[in-house]
Symmetry: C2
């Protein structure tokens, strides 16, 4: 059996190794357009700052390794031009020699990946404008950094790659502006969670320009001018486009393989395309989002690897394995913060028409009395029946762990009650007897069983002044550092003795720092005859991030 | 309604706060024998070294907080002497004044905890012998450290507390011997996993004396002599007993409440004792181990807190919630290592007569090309049908995360195939596209579907020399650093070309560093007609820890 694989990075490389383990006798040809197979795509931004010091570290597995260990016939710098499905052959071109030839296959795997989106705007051919998707892209950026010593950078796009590139440019000492077309960076997060990251990026010296888009790049002799749609102008010695990626589907499309509405290659549950001899994996295929059931593009390395392994089994053994869909678990390092998410966020749930509830909690990464504890902000989304739909976590330590736990719970079809009951590893250096995940489960359970009602910051912020009796139950010391306008201060410890100062018939909102004392205040008021009480989800902390501190555009000047 | 709670630390304190939230009008009396409620039991060892610098940090919630915020009538330094179940009253003694009085209850919660085991051996009344269970214990140790400036310490018992105390004594500069009665420290781990921790403790300067027991302590003028059962003698200026704890059940027993065979208080699924007006939680109760279904004692803070919350609901609302049992997820910091486990280990599975399979894998805490990656050793136990039964992880970074993920998977009744499919958060600073949990799932799936067979280090070590054809498929550079005696070296990359050197009919074991290349070698040999091939689980790495490096007793001399 002869298997040809188009694309030799995540899904393709994994499939090649797995096919070999499955079948010692298979003939395996792995075609890669670029010069390197199996390179560390996700590590590229970190070479800019020197965090990953050696370029060679980014070469995870070499072509030699694939040849020597797996007996894979690696064809690097080779482009697949066309598939002749009737003849079962692929037209290949050696990019070094220009030679073209046909390679027959019994089974074909498409793992071509995705390509950076380059909008049709004037000036993007500038030698100061770059993308970052592969090692040659990185080499070009590094050469520019070394030879031109740029001082000012503009990164276009506030997604994961954009934030990573901005961080590493700042770490290298460049004055960096991050431009994002919507009101927030990091689309997988909801606004108030992204706001935490935005605050942190600003603290670290990244200038943010939100709600503004790239219009054009104008080259001058010594620098370039980035013109934004708002009319603002940014001087830049280096521009990185990180607007997003689109699936590489030209080969599949021209071969007549079915594409989905998302533009990705359509595959069945066995990862097979509309041709019975062709499978496809990775960023180029559309997948079923596990929660919504919708077809989506989720260009992530983890799913690409798992798909590669599964396609390898299905190609050798005959469609024995089924892909259950992609949840979309993802994580980003943003300077000192871990920023992680899984499942659907609030915006996506609304767009998908899925009924949901949301809670925001803030807890310690481990016991507060042990040194080094850091706050984790955790947003949990769930159905009115308690099914977990998604989660987002932001914090310096342990955001990854909490999202991995919740992703596992979603995989197992668990409920928020299960989160409350989870028995996680606790010792003071690692967690708390009541882990932030347990607490999120507690709060969600309380909301669903009616022992707590909450209000979110956006709803409260939209209310007319005086529309509710807003009670801040924190200590006087906390209140001195900032309050929600219009709030009245009654320490929770005094609340029972000062009920007479309040109107039990007025709509009432209680708030504390993170929501815990507000919950007690809610219970006190409800059991004291107050008719309409709500606790502010996430407390003053979330309010402060989402409302008090955010401006869409930082000041910057054209030098 | 009047509720009396006996015990004001983990389960009792949690219950008090929850009862108040459930019912503003309940009268709540919380009785605590010690001077402090809700102190940081699990943090005590870290004050010895100064890691937790201030004693006051260990007071998590004060009696004042319980009074002011939760309106709980706290009676500290008050001992419960007897329960009159017919009269529904508890006899209390104020330990300061000696006054005794009766406190009536409608509902009673027992959360008395556990007490350190003090074996009936000569010399334990020495002023140089201590336990560590509460703040007064810690105060005594700190006073001894301050006034006597001990230089040599002996810790009796290699459980979690013993290891934590030994670590903190070493951090404080004391020469420390850890004495353990069995062949390994840390009973929740299997031998080869504990061996990693033992190697690390020795590297950090802890002297280990395994397979030896305390016989007696002999006081001399300036020091004490610890006599071990083997006859060895250790000079010690400070001795800490950390042999284990037993449930505090005297009050329950004398009141005629049912105890279980474990010695713990028996409770039903609602955490109610054999008296319909009395509930019990925490270290004093026996619980159902989730996997085995057996009644066990699991004295851990997390379950105690969850039980306290649940009992509070059941006491107020009438047994609405059911406790599903305790898995036994636990974690320990041992110097730089995280040491975590969940479910049952191999020893416990054998003891419970549960059929199981085991795999040991070693993977990086995150992508190897990103700085700071550390190895995680992961042992996974599962049924022949793939149900996850337990796991153990040891590593400098991220052992906690992997055990939390697997504990969540066990809670959800997931299989090893689910572990392989889990979509965990990946970016180079946080994980790998194939996480160690995924890899453990892959290996287990391979074993169960017959595409891989393995052998464990213990079985291999017990074989007669030459009984198997043992092939080390690592590189020459790795082999130069150490090999399993009797192994023959053939680099996996050369294996296909050197099959003629091997006997396809001989029982064959392949090994590499961690098991990955051994898996490929297994596949090559099986598909080349070798009849009986097995891959060494955990590779040379596990072998080296479990077999090559371990001595039961370090050298030490009586000064």
């Amino acid at each position: 059996m002869k298997i040809v694989i188009i694309g030799g990075v995540a899904g393709g490389a994994t499939a090649a190794a797995r096919i070999r383990r499955n079948d010692e006798r298979a003939q395996i040809v792995m075609v890669e357009r670029g010069p390197y197979v199996s390179f560390a795509n996700c590590g590229l931004p970190y070479h800019i700052s020197g965090t990953i010091a050696e370029r060679g570290q980014l070469l995870v597995a070499t072509a030699d390794l694939f040849r020597d260990r797996y007996r894979v016939d690696v064809r690097a710098e080779t482009e697949a031009l066309a598939i002749d499905r009737a003849a079962k052959s692929v037209r290949l071109r050696n990019l070094a020699s220009g030679e073209e030839y046909d390679e027959r296959y019994d089974r074909l795997l498409l793992a071509p990946g995705a390509e950076p989106i380059r909008p049709p705007l004037p000036g993007l051919a500038s030698p100061r404008v770059f993308s970052l998707r592969n090692l040659p892209d990185l080499d070009r950026i590094m050469a520019h950094l070394t030879t031109q010593a740029p001082r000012r950078a503009v990164v276009i796009g506030g997604g994961f790659i954009g934030v990573e590139v901005a961080e590493n440019l700042v770490e290298r000492g460049l004055a960096t502006v991050l431009v994002e077309g919507t009101e927030q960076i990091l689309a997988p997060l909801d606004y108030e969670m992204a706001a935490i990251v935005q605050t942190h990026l600003r603290d670290k010296g990244v200038t943010l320009s939100l709600d503004d888009k790239l219009a054009r790049v104008e080259d001058q002799a010594d620098t370039s001018i980035v013109h934004l749609a708002s009319g603002r102008q940014l001087a830049a010695d280096l521009v990185v486009l990180a607007i997003g990626v689109r699936p590489e589907t030209q080969l599949a499309r021209e071969a007549g393989l079915e594409l989905g509405a998302t533009g990705g290659i359509r595959v069945d549950e066995h990862l097979r395309t509309s041709d019975v001899s062709i499978w496809a994996v990775g960023d180029a295929v559309e997948v079923t989002q596990t929660i919504s059931g919708r077809q989506v593009l989720i260009p992530l390395a983890g799913p690409a690897n798992r798909q590669g392994r599964m396609a390898a089994d299905n190609m050798v053994f005959g469609n024995t394995r089924s892909y259950r869909g992609t949840l979309g678990t993802a994580i980003l390092k943003a300077f000192d913060l871990g920023v992680a998410s899984t499942g659907l966020n609030e915006k996506q749930l609304i767009a998908a028409g899925i009924d949901y509830r949301a809670t925001i909690t803030h807890g310690g990464s481990h016991a507060g009395y042990y040194p080094g504890a850091r706050q984790i902000s955790l947003k949990l989304l769930y159905s009115p029946q308690g099914r977990i739909l998604g989660a987002q976590a932001v914090g310096e330590v342990g955001a990854d762990k909490r999202i991995d736990v919740i992703a596992t719970a979603i995989h197992g079809g668990m409920s928020v009650d299960d989160l409350a009951e989870l028995e996680l590893a606790y010792a003071p250096p690692f967690g708390s007897a009541k882990d932030p995940v347990n607490i999120a489960g507690y709060v969600a359970s309380n909301l669903l069983d009616g022992s707590l009602e909450s209000i979110d910051w956006r709803t409260l912020a939209a209310m007319a002044p005086g529309a509710v009796q807003l009670i801040d139950v924190r200590s006087a010391a906390e209140v001195a550092l900032g309050v929600i306008p219009g709030s009245r201060h009654i320490d929770v410890n005094e609340l029972r003795d000062r009920l007479g100062e309040l109107d039990p018939d007025a709509p009432t909102v209680v708030t504390c720092q993170v929501g815990m004392r507000g919950y007690l205040a809610y219970r006190i008021l409800k059991q004291s005859g107050f008719k309409d009480v709500k606790n502010l989800s996430g407390g003053y902390k979330t309010w402060a991030w989402a409302v008090a501190r955010q401006a869409s555009t930082d000041d910057f000047e054209l030098e």
